[in-house]
Structures are given as structure tokens and as C-alpha cells.
């Protein structure tokens, strides 16, 4: 079979998409942003439809498409929205979509970590800084927006470069496309040997379908032994021997294991992190400490303005604001405060 979609169609759609993006970027005059967004959306939709039609025999996972669309749409809005706060909010939506994609990829921990750290911490910080550093106008008064927000700079050049890069990246990606293996036990079961308590609790909480009893009685113990794969037992690297009181030891065969007795993503990730990258964890901690200290140090600095400069600045700001308003209100709280402020 050759290609799913003819590469020319693919690239044509990409061109359409970049045209849409270009148009969607904010312009000085009345900009066809909506129009641009529509075109970009159309391009994205066409691409998906094309791929869907081509592979209609095997409908792929729909959730992938949903999350991807949301993510890409939000990303587009991030870069095209003239108001910074909205851009940050859209970014949060992108993060959520990205988290959804992670979920599909069986990386649950990463998905939530992403939401917690990115959306919960970093983006909130961004929002704070945006609000502190700009003069947020009311709804509809878009003229007060700084020009640097409303005008996109060199949209064509940027789009061309972006398209080039995209074309190159996708070309590289599509060489020898492998497919993802089926979702299944994503972690080797050997790790279970490291988690005896989990095994115990699982065995206690689940009932053996044959006997109706929990696998492990309340005061029973288990023994887990690791075995190298042998011709006799090629797929059973682990033996769990259940020692119920009053019964003889039973070796639980793997096909009799309860469904819960698998290694989850979080557990596997934790083990991997602590086993293979202990040093990196320490260093990451140090990095965070440095960032914290650095931020504190940086934001302590004050720029000294002399009296004349400050007077000029006040006058300028008074002119910049919407006439008649108290000049003090228009000033951003982020401006420097002298020892004896002018307020």
C-alpha cells in the first residue's frame, strides 16, 4: 500500500491551514481573525476527515481526535488573541487537552501532574504577572490595548517559517511509521515483587472465583519469588505462593491472578524514577530551590528614578490614561516605588 493520503493533498491542507493561521493573527486594522480561524479549523477538519476516510476500515480512537482538536484550537487561540489574559486562559485549555492525550497514552500520572503543575501553578503565575504588568481595560474598550498586543509582527514570514519547519518535521516523522503496540500491561510484572503490600492487599480484597473466598486470608502470608523465564514457564516471571493458615501453600498461576494485580502507571513511574534517576531528582530539587531564590532576589530590585524622570513619567501616564481619571489609577502597581513615593 502506499500512502494513506497523497502527500500533495496533505501539504495542500497544511498550506490552507497556515493561511488560516496567518489571517487569524491579530492585525492593526479590522482583521479577518474569525475568518482566519475558520479557515484553520476547516483545514484541520479536512485533514482529519481525509485521514478518517482513508482509514475508514479501522476507525481509530476517537478520543484522540477530540483532544487533539481541542488542543490545537486552543493553541491557535493562544497565539491569536489580542488580550493576554485570554491567551493565558486558552493556554490552560491547551494544557487540559494535552493532559487528555496523555491519558490516552496510558500516562495517567503525567496527565495529572501536568494539570497540577502547569495549569495550577505556572499558568496562575502567568496570570498574576499579566494582570500586574498590564493595564487591563474594560470589556469592549479595545483601543486601550497596547499596540504590541493588537498587531502581529511579520505574520507572513513567521507563518512561512512555521510551515517549512512543520513540513520538515512531519516528513521525518512519517518515515517508517510504526504502530503503537496494543494497550496492555505496560509495566513488567516483576515490579510486583517490590510491592508486597500491594499484592497482599489486592489478594485480600479479591475473591477467588473458584472458591468464592478471598485469595488471602486475614492472617495469611505470601511469598513472592522471581524466576527467570524457563522453557516450562516462559511467561511467568513471578511465582506467588499463598500461605493461608491451615492450608497448604498454593502457587497462584498467572492466569488466576485477579485483575487488579497489575502494576499501575503511577507505581511503575515511581519505581523507574527512584531506581534509575535518583540523582536527577535531587538536582531537580536544587533547580527548583534556585528558581525560588532567584525569583525572590530578582523581584526585590528597585529601579531608582530621579525626580525629573518620575515627574515626566507621571505626566506621560496621565496623558496615556482615559483623560480625567486619576492618574494614580492608571499606573501599574508593578512600577517602582521610591522610598518616598509620589503617590
Amino acid at each position: 500500500m502506499g500512502s494513506i493520503i497523497h502527500p500533495a493533498i496533505f501539504f495542500a491542507v497544511l498550506v490552507l491551514g497556515s493561511l488560516g493561521v496567518c489571517l487569524a493573527l491579530p492585525r492593526r486594522k479590522a482583521s479577518p481573525q474569525l475568518f482566519g480561524a475558520l479557515i484553520a479549523g476547516l483545514a484541520g477538519g479536512l485533514l482529519l476527515i481525509a485521514m478518517g476516510i482513508a482509514g475508514r476500515d479501522h476507525l481509530p480512537n476517537i478520543y484522540f481526535y477530540i483532544f487533539s482538536l481541542i488542543g490545537l484550537g486552543s493553541a491557535l487561540r493562544v497565539i491569536t488573541h489580542p488580550r493576554p489574559v485570554y491567551a493565558a486562559l486558552y493556554f490552560i485549555m491547551t494544557v487540559l487537552a494535552s493532559a487528555g492525550l496523555f491519558l490516552i497514552l496510558s500516562a495517567e500520572f503525567m496527565a495529572f501532574a501536568l494539570i497540577i503543575v502547569y495549569a495550577g501553578a505556572i499558568l496562575i503565575t502567568y496570570l498574576f504577572v499579566i494582570m500586574l504588568a498590564s493595564q487591563a481595560p474594560e470589556e469592549g474598550e479595545i483601543e486601550a490595548l497596547a499596540t504590541y498586543d493588537t498587531q502581529a509582527r511579520e505574520p507572513i514570514a513567521a507563518t512561512v517559517v512555521g510551515f517549512l519547519l512543520l513540513a520538515v518535521l512531519t516528513t521525518m516523522m512519517f518515515r517508517g511509521v510504526p504502530q503503537l503496540p496494543l494497550p496492555g500491561p505496560v509495566a513488567p510484572n516483576e515490579l510486583l515483587a517490590q510491592m508486597p503490600r500491594k499484592v497482599e492487599s489486592v489478594l485480600r480484597n479479591n475473591r477467588n472465583p473458584d472458591t468464592g473466598q478471598p485469595y488471602l486470608k486475614a492472617d495469611g502470608t505470601i511469598q513472592i519469588t522471581e524466576v527467570a523465564p524457563s522453557p516450562a514457564h516462559p511467561a511467568e516471571p513471578l511465582f506467588i505462593t499463598i500461605n493461608n493458615p491451615g492450608e497448604e501453600p498454593v502457587v497462584l498461576a498467572q492466569d488466576k491472578w485477579p485483575e487488579e494485580l497489575t502494576v499501575k502507571n503511577v507505581e511503575a513511574l515511581g519505581f523507574d524514577l527512584l531506581r534509575n534517576h535518583p540523582g536527577s531528582i535531587e538536582i531537580a530539587g536544587v533547580i527548583l530551590l534556585m528558581a525560588m531564590l532567584g525569583a525572590v532576589v530578582l523581584s526585590r530590585k528597585q529601579v531608582q528614578l530621579d525626580e525629573d524622570a518620575k515627574a515626566n513619567q507621571a505626566r506621560k501616564l496621565a496623558q496615556d490614561t482615559l483623560g480625567g481619571v486619576n492618574p494614580g489609577l492608571g499606573r501599574s502597581p508593578l512600577e517602582s516605588t521610591h522610598a518616598g513615593g509620589t503617590r
Partner: protein, 767 residues
Amino acid sequence: MPSTTAILDAITQLLPTMQHDAPNPAGTSTPAFFPLKSLYALIPLLPLLSCILCGVFAALRIKSKLPAWTTVLSLAVSFVLTALMARDLWSGGHAQTGVLHVFDWINFSWATGAGEQTKHFIANFAFYMDPVSTLWMLFVTGLATLIALYASEYMSGDLGAGYCRFFAAFSLFVFSMACLVMADNLVLLYLGWEGVGLCSYLLIGYFYKKPSAVAAAKKAFIVNRIGDLFLALGIWLTYVHLGTVQYSEIFDRIQPYLAAAANGRFDQIPLVVQIIPLLLMGGAFGKSAQFPLYVWLPDAMEGPTPVSALIHAATMVTAGVFLIARTYGLFQLSEIALPIVAWTGGFTALLAATIGMAQFDIKRIMAYSTVSQLGYMFAGLGVLTSGGAVFHVVTHAFFKALLFLCCGAVMHGFAGQLDLRKLSGVMKMKGWLVVGVGMLIGCLNLSGFPGFAGFFSKDMILAEAFSHHGHYQWLGWLLLFTAGLTAYYTFRVFFRVFVGPKYFEPGDELHGHADAAHDAAHDTHGHDPHSHHAKASVEHSGTHPQSEAAEKELADKAHGEHGHGDHHADFHPHAPGWAINTVLATLAVLSIAAAGLYFMGAHGGFVPHLVEQSSANLIHSEHAPEHATLFGQNPHAIMYYVSGVVGLIGIAIAYVLHLQGRTTAATSKADALLPAFGPVAKAVQNKWYVDEFYDFLIRKPLLVLSHIFHTIDQILVDGLVNLAGYLPKGTGKVLRPSQSGELHGYAIGMAGGLAVLLIIILWVART
């Protein structure tokens, strides 16, 4: 050279009536070459040392005549050493060839691959003194000494840096001439050739502030260069074909060819070898001022007179003759080389004689006569009397130097006046007798007056020309006619300037000399200026055209102050001093004595005897050619009478036209005859428009070309350089906007660059 002996044997056995029938000591076991004493290496090196010393004197700002005495001394010692060397070489009755290796100069040997012999290029600083070069060195060093002595007084008006410069160039010239003559290989000869060319340029342009002198110097150098090119090609061809540039080896290697040429079998001689003499001839024509490369010699008279006497009369211009004499063997290998030489010489002789007849500047007339006489020498070489040609060289050197020095004395005494329309009766003036007598002797020699050396040497050439059958007969008549013309124009000069009514006008240099220099010059003569003026005024009172009253006034003025009020009336010619007179007298005596050489041996005498035993010897076929006759007689026997008659006729015509009944300096009966010749006369007066022709043919196109190149240089070369300067500037201007200082631009650049890079990688790795 054992094979020379063989040739000598051949000559003596085969020649019926040629040069000499003295017993050939071929049977005696003479060594092939005579090793010279190392002392004789000083002969060229002493003048070189004197040149360096004069340079030192110039740096030390010496204002006395020390450079002159240094030069005279070094040249005198060189002459003495040369005489000793000649005695060493010639004392055994059989003139030997002396060799001396002074030091290795160019000496390369290299292997040329398996199975082949190693190749050599050897051109050492070594001497090859065969009789011709020994003879040459004798008269070069002798004349140089005498002329240096003359110049010590003549150039005394220029004491200081100019004086030192003059004698430095003078000594360097003698060194170069010695290298040329004494060389044992063609490359050292070429070194000397170029050296004499350089010194000639330096000395012609001695008065470098005069534009005409500078132009003349350039002309001389450039025209010589054309000849030098041919000479260089000839030397290269010699090396390429014969594999050597050393004379001894050359003579060895052309033996088989000589044998073929002796039998008239020129077809057996390769064409390449036959071309070599034609190229060498080109060089000889350049240096010795033959047609068409003679135009530099008359203009070279811009240099001081000692220079004209030594370089352009006696020594440098004979270098061409020397070259042909030296490589005479090569010349005899080509059927046409010697005839071309003969006819070029004859034509040049006639051409120069006709031009000389119509000039008024006495030095220039002498220059044309030099060209003419050089033509005689070449003709002599061409008609196969190398002995006669060399003899003529020797006699010509003496009497031409004498003539030039006399003209120089006149120039020196009359403040640069050389126009024969403005001078008359000089011999009768007080103190000018020696000059006059010297001039007379010189003129008699030049005209071929019977009994003088010039007569005998010219006769040998004329006789030999008439001895050949065929076209050389015409050459003989041509040369004879030219002899008549020579006699005429020579005595035109003498009868106009030295005899006749007394008259003089000072020349241009009256104002040119500083008063101080003039006084200094006066004082060195040892005359009391006032008494000198008194004598002059007394002398003038009788014959000066001005009135007596004016004379008295003149005398009073002279007594009163040494000022120059009315220059014309106040000018007194100053007679030559002891140095000049001594030299002139010596030269006069020598030129008379040179005649004696003719009688030292049969059939031409001493010089041809020497020449035969040198490289300028002749080969002859086994069948002796039958000699032609002139008026039914053997030319050698009757030539004396024929040329004597012709000479006397020339002198008589000159007397009639220029002396008989002449009362003024400016005109003579000849002027009345001039219109009879019409346009020919005008052409002759304008030197047959040869210079103008060269100007049109060569100089103007070159000027146009140089303008073109200048424009190309300005546009292209300068343009390229400017472009090289503009490119970085322009590139910077173009690239500067990329440094906008804005983050976005850089980001685009980085992202775009990354994309391009990845595209390139993908493109390259497509498989």
C-alpha cells in the same frame, strides 16, 4: 683548441694571395691555451673598484678632482697590466690564446634521466684572451686612460656630485667593456653588453636637467634594447642547439659544420644553426648603430664630449664588430649572414655620409661619420676581410677619438658653440694650434689621405670588396663613392671651422655656467684672468669685425672687472689647458703611428696577422676562388691609387666650396649649390626623415597603446581594487538590517535556519 690548428693548417695551404705568407708555426707544439696569471684578473676589476670609490666620493661630497685621478690611475694600471698580458701572449712569435678562470659565476649541471648525459649550463667569470680580444683591450684601456685624463679637465666645470657621477659611470663603462671583450662565454659578454648600454644611458643623460639629453638617453637605451633582444635570442638558440655558451666549446662543436661550409655544402648545416648568426647580427646592428638601428647615435651627442669620444666612437660602438669577429665561425655557416652584414654596412655607410654632408653641428657630423665608418667595418667583415675590419676598428678608434676630443675642445672653449656657421679660423687663435693640428691629422685619417693609417685600413676593405666576383663589386663601388663623400664632409668641417677668416660666437652655455665655476676653471689653467683677457683683446684688435673703439672699451672692461655686461662682446674663448693638449697630442701621434702597424708584416701587417690566429679566422674551400679584378689589375695592388685619388678629389671639392674665397663664417659657395639638389637636399638635411618615420611607425602607436592601457588601468585595475574595498562595505550595508536588535527577527532567523538545515539534511540523506 686542437682543431683551430687544423684549420690554420688548412688556411695556410689553401690561400694563394690572402693575408700573409709568413711561415706558420703549426709544427711547433704550442699549448692549446695559455694560462694567464691571476694578476690579470685586476684588469676589469680595477675600473670597477674605481667606480665604487667614485660612489664613495660622491657620498663624502668630495669637491676636488680626486675622482678623476682615481679613475685615470686605475685605468692606467689596467692598461699596463693589459700590455704585460699582451707581451705574455704574443712574445712567442705565435699569438696564443690566454685563459683565466676568475670565479665560478653560473655553473649548473643536472641529470636528465637515465641513459642521457648530464646537462650543463656553464657561464663563469673567465677570460678568453685570443689575439682579437687582447688587441681590443689594449686600445680600450689605453684610450680610456687618455680620455679620462681629458675629461678631468673637460668636466671640471661640474665639480662635486656630478663629477663623481661622471667618473663612476665612466669606470663602470670600462669594466663592462672589459667583461664584454674578455669574456669566455656569451653570457658574460651579454653582461658586458648590457653594462655598456647602461653606462651609455647614464652618460648620455649626464646633463639630466636637459630634456633633450634625457630623451636622447632613453632613445639610445631603447634602440639598443631592440638589438639586445636579438642577441639574447641568439645566445639562447646557441645554447639550445649547441648545448653550450662557452666559446671554446662552441668552436669545437661547429667544426663539422665548418667543414661542410668550406665546401659550399650549406645544405648539410641545420637551419637552426644558420639562424643563429642572423640573430647575433641583430644585436650587433643595435649596438654598433647600423641601419635601421642607428638613430640613437647622433642624438647621443647630447652627452659630454669625452663620453662621445670614448663610448660612441671608439669602444662601445665597436662591440658589434667585436661580436661578429668573435663568432665569425658561426657567421660563416650561413650563406646569407655575411652578405647581409656587408650590404647593411655599405648601405649604412652611404646613408650616414649623405646625412653628414648636410648637418651643421660638428659633433653630429662626427657622429654620422662614426656610423658611416662602422658601416665600413661591417662591410669589411662581410666581404671576408676580418683582418681589415679589425684594423679599421683600431685606426678608427684613435682618429675618431682624436676628432671628437678636438670638437670637444672647441665646444669647451667657445661655451658650447658647435655650429660651423658660427665658427671660423679657430686654428689661428692663440692656444688653439694643438687642437687645430690634431683636428687636421684626424681629418686626414678619416678621409683616407694617402700615407695615414685610415688610408691603409680603408683600403684593405675596399680591396677585398673588389676581389670578389658578383654583387660585391657593386658594394665596392658604393664604398668607394662613400669614401669620396667622407673626404668631402670631413674637410668641410675642417675648412669651415679651423681655417678661414677668424670669427666666433659663443654658444648657449655661456649663461649656463655659474660664474664661480667659470672662475675656477680659469684658475686651474694657471692663467691670470686679466692677462688672458689682455692677450685676447690684443689678438682681437686685428681681425675682429667690431670697431677698434669697441675693442678698447672691451679691454678696459676686462681689466676692470670680471663681469659679463654685454656677453656677446665680452666673451673670450678659452683655449684648452695642459691636460687636453697633452691628450690631443698623444692621440695625434698614436694615430699616425698606427699606420706603422700596416707595415709590420706582409699583406696588411700586424693586425690581420693577429686576427687570423683568433676566432675571426676564415675557412676556405679547397678550391681557391678566383679573384676579380679592378680595372684589369689585382685590387690589392692598385687600391692605394684608386682610393687616394678619390680622397683627394673629395678634399679638393671641399676646399673649393668651403674655403676658397670664403669671407664669412656663415655662408660658403656650397649654399649657392644647394637649390640645385632640390628636394633631395631638403631630405638629406632632415636626415632622410628616418626619425619621423620611426615616430610614426612605432612611437605613436605605442603612445596610443599606453593611453589605452592607462585607461584600462584606471578603470579595470583601480576599479577592481575599489571594488575590493567596496565589497565589505556593501556587504555590511546589506547585512546590517539583520542586526535589528529585535528578538523577533532573530527568532525567525533561527527557526528558518533550522528548517533549511533540516531540509538540506533530508535532501542529502534521501535514499
